[in-house]
Symmetry: C2
Subunit: 244 residues, 2 copies
């Protein structure tokens, strides 16, 4: 007979587990309130400090949010990729994720999104994409900020049309990291913007016609062209491997 080593589990962890499970089971829905800290310390029969440590962890995971003085207790949050975003950002910073790897990942995701969108798009989603491109063209002379916002809107519409929430979320997270990295470096370059608009139109046309392969290939090419100059020469080869 062999015994398992006993894992000493902290009191606050058990509280986290219980509340986490309640949320995942759907017993606690977004918008609902947790009991007050004093009530929780009675229910779990622990001290207030322990309750608070548990709440801090839950808050860090984005499951609840508590404000000082709120008599209704902590609020259960709807899911946001904030926690996901946080850990990916630290990954990018601590583990020295290169800009090349990030752009490459975006190429993979955006490519897949376009492939699927070409097949699954609805007329409303097509209209969104068209509107986004129109906004891109209109803002070409209004500076990088506005242009970038329209660009983001287009890629978001495509990601939504893919019908895969995981693609949508990861796309969103990695994009914001990339945009943060190149922020400042990205000057206003009218000719670059204009070319980008043309490329996006080609992508959209392929999506409209349901030609997923072309849409995916064009999307990869578009992104490569757009970020090429910000990726160190040594890393570009790996990116070009996706273009063949």
């Amino acid at each position: 007979m062999r015994f398992e080593p006993v894992r000493t589990v902290r009191a606050y962890e058990r509280i986290v587990e219980q509340i986490e499970e309640a949320v995942e089971r759907g017993d606690l829905r977004p918008g609902e309130r947790l009991p007050s800290e004093r009530e929780l310390m009675v229910q779990f029969s622990v001290s207030r400090s322990t309750v608070r440590e548990a709440l801090r962890v839950l808050q860090a995971r984005g499951l609840v949010r508590s404000r000082p003085g709120d008599p209704n207790g902590a609020e259960v949050q709807p899911f946001t990729p904030a926690a996901l975003h946080k850990s990916m950002t630290t990954l990018a910073r601590v583990d020295e994720l290169s800009i090349g790897e990030l752009v490459q990942f975006r190429m993979v995701l955006d490519s897949a999104a376009n492939l699927l969108a070409a097949r699954l798009k609805t007329p409303e989603q097509l209209a969104e994409m068209e509107a986004a491109i129109a906004a891109m063209r209109a803002s070409a002379d209004q500076g990088y900020e506005t242009f970038s916002a329209a660009d983001v809107a287009f890629h978001d519409a495509v990601a939504r049309a893919s019908g895969n929430k995981l693609i949508e979320i990861c796309n969103d997270v990695v994009r914001s990291i990339v945009l943060n990295l190149v922020a400042g470096k990205l000057a206003d370059a009218p000719e670059l913007m204009e070319r980008s608009v043309r490329h996006h139109e080609e992508v959209l046309e392929a999506v409209r016609q349901g030609d997923g392969q072309s849409a995916a290939r064009l999307a990869r090419q578009t992104m490569y062209d757009y970020y090429e100059t910000y990726v160190p020469e040594a890393q570009r080869d790996a990116l070009r491997a996706l273009l063949e």
Copy 2:
């Protein structure tokens, strides 16, 4: 003149920020120790509870780990995708991510990994893949557990060979979630295993020959065939869109 709204930032958050930045800057390297809680409460001039709440958050993010009685204080952890894994798991549970979406995401990632691996593989990595497939065949009659472990080893080797840590990590995270979901449902099916081994061999052959397109396509097909029966009929269409 416009003023910014004052965001009241909690004391423990500032502590989290400071330590987080120190880790991200590299001032605190994995393995190094934080000062003890009593020391920290002096340095930040806050109370013990506040320090502890900050440490709980940092621990939830996987940056540090503290154990009772350790005279050296909390230890800075090397980056692990544990936090990433956690938030993706809650995403899968709370936001009702379907098994179809998860498998589809794996198809996208694994496909990209194979495409890149075909181009960037080293002889050592090829040897790893060969060893993994050999282990798969050897364990075909030893039950699902051993077989699955060898299967994981193969996909891991490919992901590493892709040279993209983001692909590697996301692959790992999503795979473990999928395996968790189908756990139990997946009975021992010798003929399924045998077919899977053959498919993996075809993938490996394409990788060996540097034929990225074929490797990617075969990888998608292999995964689809393997998980098809566990994906509800209605969701399979979206998966098949990746096979054309």
